[in-house]
């Protein structure tokens, strides 16, 4: 049986939902990246959904696939005790996606982290800079083409 979230999403955004599944009971919707802001806003504000928690935001690098990255959102609705996973394919050629900070303020650091480790640009982010790594770091370590033993020691100028 399809969950209410997926049903409502399909009704409301028939064009932007590319695929849904519920593997092991985790409702998942794969959506187009142009509509992510609208969809998130809908999920938060709809009276039968009320996804008020943005639990997690991360990215996955499917190296070699057509749209290389996937930004993954995990949302939770406190009132209805439901979870949903939103996945957004992001191609390497246009490695950008809209920031969702206006919807959930906590996306701030999560988006910075995804930018830091995967190099995905979040459009509209007020302060998109590296968070876990240092400013001088080159590359994005969680991309699959970054070497496992790639080392970049930060050596300051000699006094």
């Amino acid at each position: 049986m399809e969950s209410i979230t997926l049903k409502k999403l399909k009704e409301r955004f028939p064009d932007s939902i590319m695929e849904t599944h519920s593997f092991r009971g985790d409702d998942t919707a794969i959506v187009k990246k142009e509509d992510i802001f609208k969809i998130c806003e809908f999920l938060r504000d709809d009276n039968e959904l009320l996804y008020n928690f943005m639990m997690d935001l991360t990215a996955v690098d499917y190296y070699g696939k057509e749209s290389r990255f996937e930004v993954v959102y995990h949302l939770y609705s406190l009132k209805y005790n439901m979870r949903i996973r939103i996945k957004v394919p992001v191609p390497e050629s246009d490695c950008t996606i809209d920031s969702i900070i206006p919807i959930w303020i906590c996306a701030d650091w999560f988006e910075r982290e995804a930018y830091d480790l995967y190099g995905i640009i979040f459009k509209g982010h007020p302060n998109l800079k590296r968070i876990l790594l240092y400013e001088e770091f080159e590359g994005h370590p969680l991309r699959k083409d970054y070497p496992v033993r790639g080392r970049q020691p930060l050596i300051g100028p000699k006094n």
């Binding site: 690098d61 906590c106 650091w109 876990l132």
Partner: protein, 396 residues
């Protein structure tokens, strides 16, 4: 006088609090702009303990990830172990035996106890009440002794396995726990007397770092900090895993969401955790602790030495790791700091394609500027302590 004040040249002072500063335990840096003692601007810089947890996991077999999870929230490592094991089991579709579930609940709650004890103790220490600190450190040490008798390590437990546990509880564990809890309760009462009704302690914590419930939700708070704001969200109640639905316990809720509420919630959760452990020990059923699926969990040494199939499976799982079917899952457990969620992606090979952990103190730390701006520099201390940022978990 007014002329003098007008002509007086004043400027804001920018100070670097950390990464090596007594309050920033767990290496974090605050860039604080001060106007006298008042905080005008506040910026948090994390990442000093970043060691590439996800990259390491992606290059290990599914079982090799366990030691890395120990180092996430190193104050309650077993909860991370349990969370990861449950996520992998969900991905495979394993249901562990009843006894295993109970033991996992017991060790998780003991870890939570250790974590909360440390947190409350540190809150005393950082405000100058060193005695309360040592009282709870004694209690924590007793809990660690218990955990050591179970898994052989105090800090880096590495106790849980996919589809089971490393070993069963030792003999006489129940009696030992009873004794330890008796002493813990005495110490709890001592600390309660020293801190909870202490005027200075209350003044330092009350009305500092207030987070109203709606804002706490928007900032992604979970765990004791969210409950202190009055939002009754606890994964153990909302989406019970293991056997939490068969155990009678309550989740304490705060009123205002200030630091004192966070302190009170943690103090009460210490009691509730002890209740859970006692109930679980009473209900603990007999039976195996490991699932009977040799392709995922090694069988007993007797079987391996006497049966050829067991030996083959053992050889295969040890050398090549287990094969987890392709797919993706997210599994949340209630960590000591809040929701610890594991998001796993498997491509069917012997290694996790992606192993993401949702660190509960990451959004909490992100909300630090919101909580201390406009407060005094001394307010950073209790607020940061009640956030309970753990470097290993926040920076991964």
């Amino acid at each position: 006088m007014s002329d003098l004040a007008k002509n007086l040249h004043t400027e804001h002072m920018v100070i670097n609090m950390g990464p090596s500063h007594p309050v920033t335990h767990g290496t974090v840096k605050f860039l604080v702009t001060l106007d006298g003692e008042t905080i005008v601007d506040f910026d948090v810089e994390i990442g000093y303990l970043h060691r590439g947890f996800e990259k390491m996991c992606e290059n290990s077999t599914w079982e090799q990830v366990f030691p890395y999870t120990d180092r996430l929230n190193y104050l309650s490592p077993i909860i991370n172990n349990v969370g990861y094991a449950l996520a992998v089991e969900k991905l495979i579709g394993i249901d562990t035996p009843e006894r295993c579930k109970y033991v996992r609940v017991i060790v998780s709650e003991l870890s939570r106890l250790a974590d909360h004890l440390t947190n409350v103790a540190a809150s005393g220490l950082e405000l100058g009440a060193f005695t309360a600190f040592l009282y709870f450190v004694e209690a924590r040490d007793l809990i660690w002794d218990l955990l050591e008798s179970v898994c052989g390590a105090r800090l880096t437990s590495n106790y849980v396995r996919i589809g089971g546990l490393k070993n069963d509880l030792p003999d006489g564990f129940k009696e030992q726990t009873k004794e330890v809890f008796k002493r813990c309760r005495e110490l709890w009462i001592d600390v309660d007397k020293l801190l909870t009704k202490n005027r200075i302690f209350i003044d330092r914590l009350k009305d500092v770092g207030i987070m109203p419930p709606d804002e706490a939700i928007a900032w992604g708070f979970t765990g004791p900090c969210l409950r202190a704001s009055g939002v009754p969200y606890d994964v153990r109640k909302a989406q019970p895993y293991l056997v939490y639905d068969q155990i009678d316990f309550e989740i304490p809720i705060g009123e205002k969401g200030d630091n004192f509420d966070r302190y009170l919630v943690r103090m009460e959760e210490i009691n509730q955790s002890m209740r859970i452990v006692e109930q679980a020990l009473d209900k603990l059923p007999d039976g195996p602790i490991n699932v009977d699926m040799p392709e995922y969990r090694w069988q007993s040494k007797d079987d391996i030495y006497t049966k050829i199939e067991s030996l083959i499976f053992h050889f295969k799982t040890v050398t090549g790791g287990i094969r987890v079917p392709p797919g993706e899952v997210y599994f949340p457990v209630e960590g000591a700091n809040g929701e610890v969620g594991f998001y796993l992606v498997s491509d069917g090979s012997g290694k996790p394609y992606k192993c993401r952990v949702r660190p509960p103190c990451f959004p909490l730390t992100a909300a630090m500027p919101r909580m201390v701006k406009g407060a005094l520099i001394a307010d950073i201390v209790p607020t940061f302590d009640m956030i309970h940022m753990i470097g290993g978990e926040c920076d991964r």
